[in-house]
């Protein structure tokens, strides 16, 4: 833990921002500590012979009205200027944090009162508050610090409140509360650490702001009073003769800018060091991701010609930490017109990426390569973007998992459907609208004409998913790709949507590629199943022969899902271990490490998809020999008596 935390900080400090921040910070700290000691006296030396001089060898930035050296004065003023800014920030952030976090500790009713008070305070402009407090606390450095500090407090309180509220609703805070953790500890251990990152950034930005505010106050004569001086006073003194000797005003101005910048950079670095999600330095990757193999690609089962969609040796890669991660590696599939194909796999198996790659929805930095990718006879790999868009727009429908995020919430549902036809079939607005209503009726949305004018939030989830399918039907689609179309829906609604897909497929002669993690869903709807693991199709078989699955992974998937007939007295079968990560693929079979049948060959040679019976293909070395064995021993019970 300590090492990872240290590593994170080291990494944060090694970035250009981190390096610059530590450099600036060192200079500012040195000046704050040493400048008054070293140059303090020289900055006070009055030289009546050299009043209001410009830059010279003796005085680099000239002299002021008493002949004092402006360069030294700027350096010495660092302590007061930075000190006041930091002090005011501490006051502002401290007060803001206390008030903003109070509702967590105080409980519902009192908390609401505090929130209300903060909301009222935020309504006053900070400048007005600063002037108000400056008048109350009196002119001078002390008054200015209190004024600026308190004036920034309400906005910090508001910020803290908003962030606290967003964290306090998370489950881990609820869990801690249920576990009996006290409110104070809840705040200190769970809430504050999780909002610290943006708070620190805002506090340092606030410090920069305070620096400017003091300069402004001193400039107006409300801040630091003579004989004390800060950058604001120096700026004011120099500004009068900016046309004769600009260097007198430039010196404090540069100091202000540099320190303000330093504050922000330091904030950025601290935030980076505190974040547990360490950013991986994305170095320039290897020039080319692994692509299709030319020599020994998997053989296709179906002859070309009668196919609607043909994919051969599809690879999808993303740049990752100096190399490429390939979540999809060599997928080949063919879909005939009117056919219903299921793609089964767990999260991370590459099934959704395969669908997105087929729909040409993946953009840089993703790299999509294939030996062949044709849809209705058109080669999508070489087609120009216009042809591709027209073809996919008209004959290809895509249904996503979450219908709520797939629609634009600010436009009526019917309008969004109509847009498809206006874009792709060149229909007029009116004709497109009529078709939208007709399609909504087709997917059994009740009172479609009225519903078309409603917004997505007025639809239930199931109804919206129907509308999404309706959108896929706006053209004359030949293929609908549905990516987990029912996962976000209730069981009753799920059944309706699946039934709808099945009916539409039958009536309109569509082909369907249904992607799901749920065997039972695929079994209900599809003729043929493709099982994916670690970016590969490991088994392909007709749905009615799922019971004769040969790949150990397919069998494990089937055994792991309880249904209404599963014995309640036996533990469910489990797959030991974790899926491989697409950036660290083993040499042999990707499933070998988790497979009870794995041999030495499996760990060195990657099996290819080979014929294994009528309509069945398997990528496994062990299928033939061990078909009769139970694939996975049921997990032994681990729980012990306390």
């Amino acid at each position: 833990m300590a090492t990872t935390r240290r590593a994170r900080w080291t990494r944060a400090l090694r970035t250009p921002v981190g390096l610059a921040a530590s450099g600036f910070l060192a200079v500012v700290v040195l000046l704050v500590v040493l400048a008054p000691l070293v140059w303090g006296e020289r900055a006070e030396v009055v030289d009546t012979g050299n009043l209001l001089q410009g830059s010279s060898a003796a005085h680099l930035f000239g002299t002021d009205s008493l002949g004092r050296d402006i360069g030294y004065r700027v350096l010495v003023a660092t302590r007061l200027s930075v000190g006041m800014a930091l002090l005011a920030t501490v006051i502002g952030v401290g007060t803001g944090l206390l008030v903003g976090a109070a509702p967590v500790v105080l409980g519902r009713r009192t908390g609401r009162l505090v929130t209300g008070a903060v909301n009222v305070a935020v309504a006053f402009p900070a400048l007005l508050l600063a002037l108000f407090f400056a008048t109350i606390f009196g002119v001078g450095a002390r008054g200015a610090v209190l004024a600026v500090g308190l004036a920034t407090a309400p906005s910090f309180a508001r910020l803290t409140q908003t962030m606290v509220a967003s964290v306090a609703d998370r489950d881990f805070v609820s869990a801690a509360r249920i576990a009996g953790v006290s409110r104070i500890r809840l705040l200190v251990r769970h809430v504050l650490p999780n909002i610290a990152e943006p708070l620190v950034v805002n506090a340092t930005i606030g410090a920069g702001g305070a620096l400017l505010a003091f300069s402004g106050l001193s400039f107006l004569g409300l801040g630091v009073q003579a004989p004390a001086y800060d950058w604001g006073r120096l700026l004011e003194e120099g500004l009068g003769r900016v046309y004769i000797h600009p260097e007198a005003a430039v010196a404090p101005a540069v100091a202000l800018v540099v320190v303000g910048l330093a504050f922000n950079l330091v904030g950025e670095t601290i935030a980076k060091g505190m974040s547990p999600r360490a950013t991986v330095g994305r170095t320039a990757g290897a020039p080319h991701p692994p692509g299709p193999r030319t020599a020994t690609g998997p053989r296709r089962l179906e002859p070309a010609g009668s196919t609607l969609l043909e994919v051969e040796d599809l690879h999808v890669a993303f740049p990752f930490a100096g190399g490429w991660a390939t979540p999809v590696r060599g997928v080949s599939l063919a879909i005939r017109p009117g056919e219903s194909v299921g793609m089964l796999g767990e999260s991370g198996s590459g099934k959704s990426l395969t669908a997105l790659a087929i729909a040409r929805l993946l953009e840089a930095p993703a790299s999509v390569r294939a030996r062949r990718l044709t849809f209705q006879g058109t080669d999508l790999l070489t087609a120009d973007p216009r042809t591709e868009r027209e073809l996919l727009g008209a004959s290809f429908g895509m249904v996503f998992q979450d219908p709520m995020t797939s629609f634009n919430p600010t436009r009526p549902v019917g309008r969004q459907l109509a847009e498809v036809s206006q874009q792709h079939q060149g229909l007029t607005r009116g004709a497109a609208w009529a078709r939208a209503v007709d399609r909504l009726r087709e997917v059994r949305v009740p009172s479609a004409a009225r519903r078309a004018r409603q917004y997505p939030h007025e639809f239930s989830g199931g109804m919206l998913q129907r509308a999404m399918i309706g959108m896929g039907l706006m053209g004359a689609p030949a293929l609908i790709v549905a990516d987990e179309p029912t996962t976000a829906l209730d069981t009753t609604v799920q059944r309706e949507v699946l039934a709808l897909l099945a009916r539409i497929r039958a009536e309109e002669g569509l082909a369907l590629l249904l992607i799901s993690h749920d065997v039972t869903v695929v079994r209900d709807v599809c003729d043929r199943v493709l099982v994916m693991y670690a970016g590969r199709i490991v088994e392909e078989l007709p749905t009615d022969r799922l019971g004769e699955a040969r790949h150990p992974y397919t069998r494990a998937l089937l055994d792991a899902v309880p249904d209404l007939e599963t014995s309640r007295d036996r533990p469910l079968a489990v797959v030991p271990g974790r899926p491989v990560s697409p950036d660290a693929l083993p040499a042999g079979c990707a499933f070998a490490a988790r497979c009870p049948l794995a041999t030495e060959r499996c760990r060195t040679d990657d099996p290819v998809l080979a014929d294994a019976g009528p309509g069945q293909r398997v990528a496994c070395w062990q299928t033939g020999e061990n078909l009769g064995l139970p694939a996975f021993p049921a997990a032994t019970s681990r729980a012990a008596t306390p």
Binding site: T4, F172, G180, S460, D518, A639, T641
Partner: protein, 328 residues
């Protein structure tokens, strides 16, 4: 012994005219050492009921007791710790800035384990109990998979030595192979530690696998409850039958579920009169106009004192589910 009992529990969101009764007059008992499965669709009030039990939401009526001691209200932390909850999303239920060990250790009861060494040993024992390598104690949640996180969340719940655990959709965010592991664990904890559980899920097959008793919730109410094999084998409420018929892999898909399909979910601001299920009911007034009783009279007013209860005026006699289709 630990009996979790809900008596006439109602939970209301909001005030005045905009108030929504998310849970209404729920009577439910989770007997000691048993798993009660609570099923229903999203928005039916399952999670609200669980959150109210652990004190995250205030009750507007009724009371929740554990072995006769009221849980919510004046009772302090001590008794509230006897009831722990595991949440649905393993990615938000662990503090991303605390190690696995810190998260679990925090939930240990004060005074039971003294000293850093003993605490680590206890945390290791708990991780072992949920089938996790104690060597991962110093890992951050981001280094764990969803299934491992969910097991850490279970270990944290067990750390408080609860008498009953509420599990709110704990497997629905997991992959199927990982789900099997968590379900096996739930079974083991129940059978070997005698841990009582309220197991909430929308997945009927999962609920059937782990539960001894089952309650079905619809629009904030319990519409049917009874022993698992009874409710799944001989469902009495038409809503339960609808749910069972909707389980994937049960018979032909027909796009002709006429009533239920086209009806909207219940608007919680304006619940239907009488039986709340009547606008969707396949045996109700929509298809059988003579059954006006459903429009006016709340079946919950009629209380059964049977083991297997269903809140329906026309609850079916005991006929196996397979013979009892939706369209009678």
């Amino acid at each position: 012994m630990s009996e979790l009992r809900f008596e006439g529990v109602s939970v209301t969101h909001g005030w005045g005219r905009r108030a929504v009764r998310a849970v209404e007059s729920v009577d439910l008992v989770v007997p000691s050492g048993t798993v009660l499965g609570l099923v229903g669709e999203s928005g039916s009030g399952k999670s609200t009921l669980a959150r109210a039990a652990v004190g995250l939401l205030p009750l507007s009526a009724g009371r929740i007791t554990l072995d006769g001691d009221p849980l919510v209200g004046r009772a302090g932390h001590a008794s509230r710790r006897d009831l722990q909850m595991v949440f649905q999303d393993p990615y938000s239920s662990l503090d991303p800035r605390m190690t696995v060990g810190e998260s679990v250790s925090e939930a240990l009861r004060r005074g039971t384990v003294r000293g850093a060494q003993a605490r680590r040993a206890e945390v290791a024992r708990l991780l072992e109990l949920v089938d996790l390598d104690p060597g991962r104690m110093d890992a951050l949640p981001e280094e764990l998979s969803g299934g491992q996180r969910q097991r850490v969340a279970l270990a944290r719940a067990l750390a408080a030595q609860p008498r009953t655990v509420l599990a709110d959709e704990i497997t629905s965010a997991l992959d199927v192979s990982v789900q099997a592991r968590v379900l096996n664990l739930v079974r083991d904890l129940n059978r070997q530690l005698g841990l009582g559980m309220l197991f909430i899920s929308h997945n009927l097959a999962v609920v059937r696998y782990v539960s001894d008793l089952v309650a079905v919730m619809y629009a904030g109410r319990i519409v049917e409850q009874g022993p698992a094999e009874q409710v799944f084998g001989f469902p009495r409420h038409p809503y339960t039958r609808t749910l069972l018929d909707a389980v994937p892999g049960r018979g032909e898909l027909a796009d002709a579920v006429p009533v239920v399909a086209l009806s909207e979910p219940v608007d919680p601001h304006d619940p239907p009169t009488g039986c709340r299920f009547h606008p969707s009911c396949p045996v109700g007034p929509l298809l059988r106009p003579e059954r006006t009783e459903c429009l006016t009279r709340d079946p919950l007013e009629v209380v059964w004192q049977r083991e297997h209860r269903a809140a329906c005026h026309f609850s079916a006699p005991a006929v196996p589910a397979s013979q009892e289709g939706l369209h009678r």
